[in-house]
Every structure is written in structure tokens, then in C-alpha cells.
Amino acid sequence: MDVESEGSSALRLIKQGAEARIYAADFLGRPTIVKERFKKKFRHNVLDDKLRHKRTMQEVRSMHRCRKAGIATPTVFFIDSNDYKIYMEEVQNSITVRDYINSLKEDKESNLRKLAKIIGTILASMHNIQVIHGDLTTSNMLLKKTNDIEIADLVLIDFGLSSISSLAEDKGVDLYVLERAFLSTHPNTEDAFKVILDTYKTFKGSSEALKKLDEVRLRGRKRTMVG
């Protein structure tokens, strides 16, 4: 289907992420983000096709599954499976959690705590429906507003590396990926990250994932051994 002739405007490139180009567009009158997994020249054709197909499909599936469970993700309008494009709702006036944390000045501690509790709650409910995000970073979380933030204001995006799994191992690795990304992007926020885990801990079934997290941490290469 040629979407552009069906009432959507031309695509305007906003940014080139690691694996996709992000365009702004208008889809049947709605402000839309188009995520295109374009061909990567450096990859072998067969591998490239397989990855783009798998990730596009998995992204849409996981977003849908999260929405059903009440976790905010952009609404998917349309999928172009020939060009691996996902047309989804534009979360308007949003900023990434990464930019939000970097912008915090006054009440940094209390705002961080509040944010950390929200992140912990959302991760717990996501893992509760067996969605493993696969690429949790503060760039992959959006905030709809910056004052008096609530759970519904945090939107998860970028589910390209996601999978469905009930294994504590996968959940532990998911938390580990976030921990590494969080602490390397935002130095000196160990306390806030602890709040994320403490909040996560209050949910049912979280203890096994946290136990795995401890194991995965020790697996890290060339860690200094204590004791």
C-alpha cells in the first residue's frame, strides 16, 4: 500500500539513530513518527534482512503487549513490512529521561527519587507480562511532562531488541543492561538506581530476577574479586 498517496504527508528526517532513521510525518491527520530500519550496507544481505524483519515485528508485538498491560508506549498506526517502517504516534512535547536527568538542578535528589520509583514500577509490570526490553537506557524512555511526573507520563520506546521470556535470567540481564547504561551515562547516580531496584523489589516475582542480576554482575569480565 502506498501510504503517502492515502493522505499522509512527506517524511521529514528528524534523526538517525543507531539502527533506524526517524522521520516526522502526518498519518491521516495525526502527528506521526516513522521509524525506518534502513538497509545496513556493512552487514551481509541475508543477515541484514533477517535482523530488520525480526526486529520490526518484535518491536510492534512488544509495544502492543505493553499497552494491553497499561504501560505507556506509542500507538502503532501502520507497518510497512517491505521497507521495514513502523508508523507510530508521535509523543508530543516529550523529552528523553536522559535529557531530563541532565537538566535537573533544584531538588535534584527528590526528583530523581520520584523518577526512579516510576521506572522501577514500570519495569516490574513489564517483566510481569514477560516482556524483556533488551535495550533499556535512559534514551529509550520518554517523559510527557517534567513537572509532577506520574507513571502514565513515562513512555517506553525502542523495543527492537525485545523478546518474550519468563526466565529470571533474561529479566536479570535486562536490569543489568539498564544498570550499566544508567550509571555510565549519569555518573554518581548510584542512589537513584538503588531506588529503581528497591521499587522493583516490591513486586511479585521480582526476587528471582534480582537474584539473577547479582549473578550477572559477577559474570562481568575482569571484575575485581573481593574476598
Binding site: 545496513k40 543477515l47 533488551g134 543492561v177 550499566r180 547504561a181
Partner: protein
């Protein structure tokens, strides 16, 4: 003018190099090469280092035309690496430091690769992909630390290649990875292998078990050639590495990439990385064996930076460690 001598022996390469204010005066290396199908064992590697270190040292001083009193600091690899070879080399570094009465500086091997890469290429603040037989990390500098954004969660990429070379009984001369690279150039058929990227982390052990498992069957059944297997393995592993490097670049907003470590010599990896950066409008720093293959000059260069910023290692702390993370080192020689 500060002149530093560096001692390296964390794996199968023994190297001693001398650096004076960014200029390499000498860089001598002796590599321990094992028969096909065999890796290098710590004990034998340490013996190799002990057997050759004095002649390598003599040659390093002669090539540089430097006498011991012209040297300002003695630098050695504290880790990470194999225990016995590290210790064998550190003993000599400690001995000459005392004989010559010079301060000693303990250097992190990974940081030495990065500092040498920055010196040779002039790159200011690159995203670094460090790929070797023992390490696979994506590193960027932030607030006085080289922070690890992504890394392997099990074995290193070079280890994966080396071990597969053993399965095919490829020669270890000059290096197993080089011989895989030459084989891969003749490969045609792409065999699908597992592809494991978790965020900015990668995992290789599953790919190795899988290819080890199918290799004999496929070769016996005439389904593919050893060349095809090398080709497919490289294509898969390197696609993963380029992908996590690109993720880190996008995440940090960086537009320079530096590849360091032995696997960085692989031309196919360089080509894939170049295609990725060109498409992003970024640049790839040139590759050079002075910072890719382990050597003494890179240890001297990192030690030179540390020494010039006032760091000296107290003698009773001049030990070695097999585990020494890149992000443990406080970087005192760069701006926050």
C-alpha cells in the same frame, strides 16, 4: 623532556618500547607462537617471556640509543592479562627500576591501547572499540574515567576466532585471526549463525559452540567449505561489533571511532566500520599496529601520561592482577 620505557607481556606478545614526549624511540616485540591446534598456556608463555626479555630489553635500549640514566620512569602492565606472563615481565620492570633508581608506574593494559591510539591518530575524544584475544569493550571517556558502555558478557571476540581457528587446525603464525581473515576472503556461502546483541553488550560463546558443533557435519557433508565458515563467522561477529559501536556513538553523540586491539587489524572489520561511520557522517581513525597489536611503546605512552600528571606507583603496590577493569582507573591526565 620525559622519557618512559614500557614493559608489556600480558598475553603471548612480549614487548618493550621507549617513548619520549610522544615520539616512539624504539618498540621491540617477540611473539610466542604455538603449533596449529594449540593455544598458548600461561606457564609456557611466561617461560617464553623470561627467556627473551633481556635480549628484547637490550635491543629496545640500543634501537632507541638511550642509556638507562636518560630514562625518567619505568612503566609496566599491571593487568588485565594472564597471571604468570604478567608477573614474569613485572619482575624485570621492578628490578631495572631499582637498579636504575627510577620511579615506577603501573599501567592498565586497556588504557594503554587507547592512549597510544589517541597519540598516533590525534583523535580527541573517540568512541573506542577495543577488540582483542582477551577483551571486547566499547569505551567512551566521561568525567575522568574511560567508561565501558558495552562489552562481551562471556568470551572475547579474538578468543572466539582463535578457538575456531583451532577447530580448523589453522596455523598460529603470524596469528590465528590473520589466517581466518585470509580464508574468509575466499568464502562465498553465508551460513546463518546465532546473533546475540543485548543492548550494548554482546555474547560470543553461544556462536562458538554452535559453529564448533555444525562445522564437522557441514564439512563432511560437503555443504560448505572451511572458507565459507570463516567468512560467515567474521560477517556475524563483526556485524555485532559494528552494531554496538554504532549504538554507543548514537548514545554518546560521538562522531569519531577508534579501533584498538589485535582484532582491529582485521581489514574486513575496518571496512564494515568505515561503511557504518561514513553513513553517519562520522570518521574512523586510521588503524596502526602500534596501538592494535600489544607492544611496549603503548605501555610507555600511557605511563608517560600518568607520570606527567604526577602519578607514581609506590613500590609496595607494584603487583599484577588478572582482573583490572578499564573503568577502575582514575584518569588524571585528561580534562573532566
Amino acid at each position: 623532556m620525559v622519557t618512559a620505557i614500557g614493559f608489556e607481556g600480558s598475553a603471548n606478545k612480549l614487548g618493550i618500547g621507549i617513548i619520549r614526549d610522544g615520539k616512539v624511540l624504539s618498540n621491540v616485540r617477540h611473539t610466542y607462537i604455538t603449533p596449529p591446534g594449540q593455544g598458548f598456556q600461561p606457564r609456557d608463555t611466561a617461560k617464553h617471556h623470561r627467556d627473551h626479555i633481556l635480549s628484547v630489553l637490550r635491543k629496545a635500549l640500543d634501537n632507541a640509543d638511550v642509556t638507562p640514566d636518560e630514562i625518567d620512569c619505568v612503566c609496566y602492565t599491571k593487568g588485565p592479562g594472564m597471571g604468570a606472563p604478567l608477573v614474569a615481565v613485572a619482575i624485570v620492570a621492578r628490578t631495572v627500576a631499582q637498579l636504575w633508581n627510577k620511579p615506577i608506574v603501573a599501567v592498565n593494559h586497556c588504557i594503554a591501547h587507547i592512549e597510544m591510539g589517541r597519540l598516533v591518530t590525534g583523535a580527541d575524544n573517540p568512541t573506542v572499540l577495543y577488540v582483542s584475544g582477551g577483551n571486547t569493550q566499547v569505551i567512551a571517556y566521561l568525567m575522568n574515567r574511560y567508561r565501558i558502555f558495552g562489552e562481551t558478557i562471556d568470551i572475547a571476540v579474538g578468543n572466539c576466532l582463535d578457538r575456531f581457528a583451532r577447530v580448523l587446525k589453522l596455523s598460529n603464525d603470524p596469528s590465528p585471526g590473520y589466517n581466518i581473515e585470509q580464508m574468509a576472503k575466499r568464502g562465498k556461502k553465508f551460513i546463518e549463525l546465532p546473533y546475540t546483541v543485548k543492548g550494548m553488550d554482546v555474547s560470543f560463546s553461544g556462536i562458538l559452540s554452535y559453529i564448533e558443533d555444525i562445522a564437522q557435519k557441514k564439512l563432511d557433508g560437503g555443504e560448505c567449505t572451511p572458507e565459507d565458515l570463516c567468512f560467515s563467522l567474521q560477517e556475524t561477529l563483526f556485524a555485532m561489533l559494528v552494531e554496538i559501536t554504532e549504538r554507543a556513538m548514537a548514545h554518546c553523540g560521538s562522531n569519531e571511532v577508534l579501533i584498538v586491539g589485535g582484532v582491529g587489524c582485521n581489514e574486513r572489520l575496518q571496512q564494515m566500520m568505515r561503511e557504518m561511520v561514513e553513513e553517519r557522517g562520522a570518521t574512523l581513525c586510521a588503524t596502526d599496529e602500534r596501538y592494535c597489536i600489544d607492544n611496549g611503546a603503548m605501555i610507555a605512552q600511557a605511563g608517560w601520561e600518568m607520570f606527567s600528571s604526577g602519578q607514581v606507583t609506590p613500590f609496595n603496590e607494584t603487583w599484577c592482577t588478572q582482573r583490572y577493569r578499564t573503568d577502575e582507573v582514575l584518569v588524571t591526565w585528561r580534562d573532566g
